[in-house]
């Protein structure tokens, strides 16, 4: 009996110690303006887990922006403090994290997330507390529909689908396209739908549609069926993790039709996994480090200096989200939620590294897409397509 009480007591002591160790600023209540000291900006990203590569790049971009801004003196006479939390690519964490950052840490704005599902979790909390949220790269249209405090600095999937349909028609000269969708990913299903609608509206024909689940390794069954219908091109709106294998198996099956996809393809691992099979394939994304633009070149140079890797779209958008937020604070002359929100909504032609950002009435950014092609194991800029 005594032993058991001791073990419970030991457990409670551990909790107390852990609570004490944890840095906490115990200011209850959601005050959205920060008092003298630093301006606290919250960020949540998938730093670990299945989408760690996306979250880490996005975080690097944001971090770089904050560091540069602080080196230049901060904003409104104060330094910026970035509070980052890891949502582990898990569902259910983002809401608690948002509450923690807003109510306990007292952030004035929230940056995040890459995945639309996790942005959707946090958005109601931000909206309720009148804290502006900027998503760097969530492309599902539902995210900004949650409320007028939710913004994004990237294009949406309907736009991406339209542009890709146009690309397939004009550049690939494909009139019959097959689609292979990741049915487990809302992003993939959504993008496939938007592409299909735009492509058929422009007179194209979808020969067949195959489905797989994220995590699958074997697509030969679906590809064999698709090959039988003889499409001009194959659209794969999924993630690089499966696209590499799909390309390989398509190649092994003797499929000659070119493959193309969306921004989920972007990762250095695509070339590793896909090897020679992804040579010549195309995908759309938000940013190309090759662009001959002084803003882009400076960003690429600074990013490489700090992190020793070339930035990708996630990094660029993470950077832009932080920069835009601070620019809005400058224009509003304050960090108060409603004022910053209004300044964000009024953004016009903000020079982001991933393109000029103008926020439309739905709080989305009308941005051009870049089409990249895999050549010699690297991504090369093919064309930049502005939205209609």
């Amino acid at each position: 009996m005594r032993r058991n009480i001791l073990s419970v007591a030991a457990g409670l002591v551990c909790i107390a110690l852990a609570a004490g160790c944890n840095k906490s600023s115990d200011t209850p209540g959601a005050t959205s303006s920060s008092t003298g000291g630093a301006i606290k900006i919250g960020e949540f990203a998938s730093l670990t887990g299945s989408e760690a590569t996306f979250g880490q790049m996005s975080h690097h971009g944001t971090e770089l922006a904050i560091d540069q801004l602080n080196a230049a003196g901060g904003v409104l006479g104060q330094k910026l403090e970035l509070h980052t939390e890891d949502d582990q690519s898990k569902q259910g964490e983002s809401k608690t994290i948002a509450k923690k950052l807003i109510s306990r840490d007292g952030v004035v704005a929230l940056l995040g997330e890459v995945a639309s599902s996790r942005s959707l979790e946090a958005a109601p909390v931000c909206q309720e507390n009148k804290i502006p949220q900027i998503s760097p790269s969530s492309t599902n249209p539902k995210v900004t529909e949650i409320g007028d405090y939710i913004f994004r600095v990237c294009f949406t999937d309907p736009q991406q689908g339209k542009v890709l349909a146009q690309f397939a028609h004009t550049t690939l000269k494909a009139h019959k396209v097959a689609i292979l969708t990741d049915a487990a990913s809302a992003y993939s299903v959504g993008l496939a739908n938007y592409f299909r609608d735009a492509f058929t509206a422009a007179g194209g024909q979808i020969t067949s549609e195959g489905k797989y689940s994220g995590g699958d390794k074997d697509f030969s069954a679906q590809l064999t069926s698709i090959k039988g219908e003889n499409p001009d091109a194959l659209f794969v709106p999924g993630y690089y993790t499966e696209v590499g294998l799909i390309a390989r198996q398509a190649h092994d099956l003797g499929m000659k039709a070119p493959l193309f996809g969306g921004d989920g393809w972007e990762s250095s691992e695509l070339v590793n996994i896909g090897g020679a099979a992804v040579e010549g394939t195309y995908f759309s994304t938000h940013f190309s480090p090759e662009e001959k633009d002084p803003v882009v070149e400076k960003f690429v140079h600074d990013f490489q200096a700090k992190y020793s890797v070339t930035p990708d779209a996630m990094a660029a958008l993470g950077y832009d989200s932080a920069m835009l937020l601070v620019d809005a604070m400058k224009r509003a002359g304050s960090t108060e939620g409603p004022k910053v929100r209004d300044a964000l909504a009024a953004t016009k032609d903000f020079p982001g590294v991933a393109g000029k950002i103008t926020i439309d009435p739905q709080r989305n950014a009308t941005k051009p897409l870049v089409i990249l092609q895999v050549k010699d194991g690297k991504f090369h800029l093919v064309e930049k397509i502005a939205p209609q």
Binding site: A52, D218, Q222, T224, S267
Partner: protein, 297 residues
Amino acid sequence: MIEFLQQLINGLSVGFVYALLALGYTMVYGILRFINFAHSDVFMVGAFCGFYMGKHVPAHSLGGGLLVIVLTMLICAALGIIIERLAYRPLRGGSSLAVLITAIGVSLLLENVGQLVFGADPKYFPELFPAKVYVSSSGLRVSSNQLLVFVVTAVLLFALQWIVLRTRTGTAMRAVSFNAQAASLVGINNDRVISFTFGLGSALAAAGGILYSMNYPSIDPYMGILPGLKAFVAAVLGGIGNIPGAALGGILLGLIETFVKGTRFSTYTDAIAFGLLIVILLFRPAGLLGKFQVEKV
């Protein structure tokens, strides 16, 4: 017709890998009457061993590839024996629920440590063997890696049958699976036999891991979960505890899965595997080749 034959080839190559994995499950169940949840993660460790070793071995070489397979099998056999020694043996004879929970714990441990060490994002598995695609006149395509799966699995299956039926250790294994107490009474060292079984099963899982990764060269710490569960279904399908049954079950499941993937129900493939398990357990729990065992009070 060509399409059907092509699907057949694809299905067989997946099925043979399931067969290799299923053997490990069935052998351990036959002796200890428990499902080694961690088996699927030994499969994963085997794939990663192959990944790291593959960097130090010239690509596209037959000798290099074989060396990697053999070494990986040895390493994973050792891993399996260690796991048994540390996590399962202390609980032998006790509640089977406790061992089950421990097995789940070991499985999770391997996956999550793997995630910490290897990173969660998929890695590209190196090309160990020379890769060629053979095209028949009618358009059927078989890759050399697929052929390797057939050959290596067949060799391992025969080796296993030989060990189990013709060696003293194999006979000891069968004796322990019939009646552990009686086996120890006639002088068999149960502990050693059990360790050997785990080692053997883990070696097969490792080989399966490398063969699987050669055909689907994207590896990540969670890659073992689904193949492991499907291999278990295969083992049950063939009759748990029955070695030829496991092989048969694996091949059958691979074929079923591939044909389902070609239909419009492709997203339900995993659910169908589980559904099959439930159906088997309800209507023919002994599986295709197993014998129904009466539960003694």
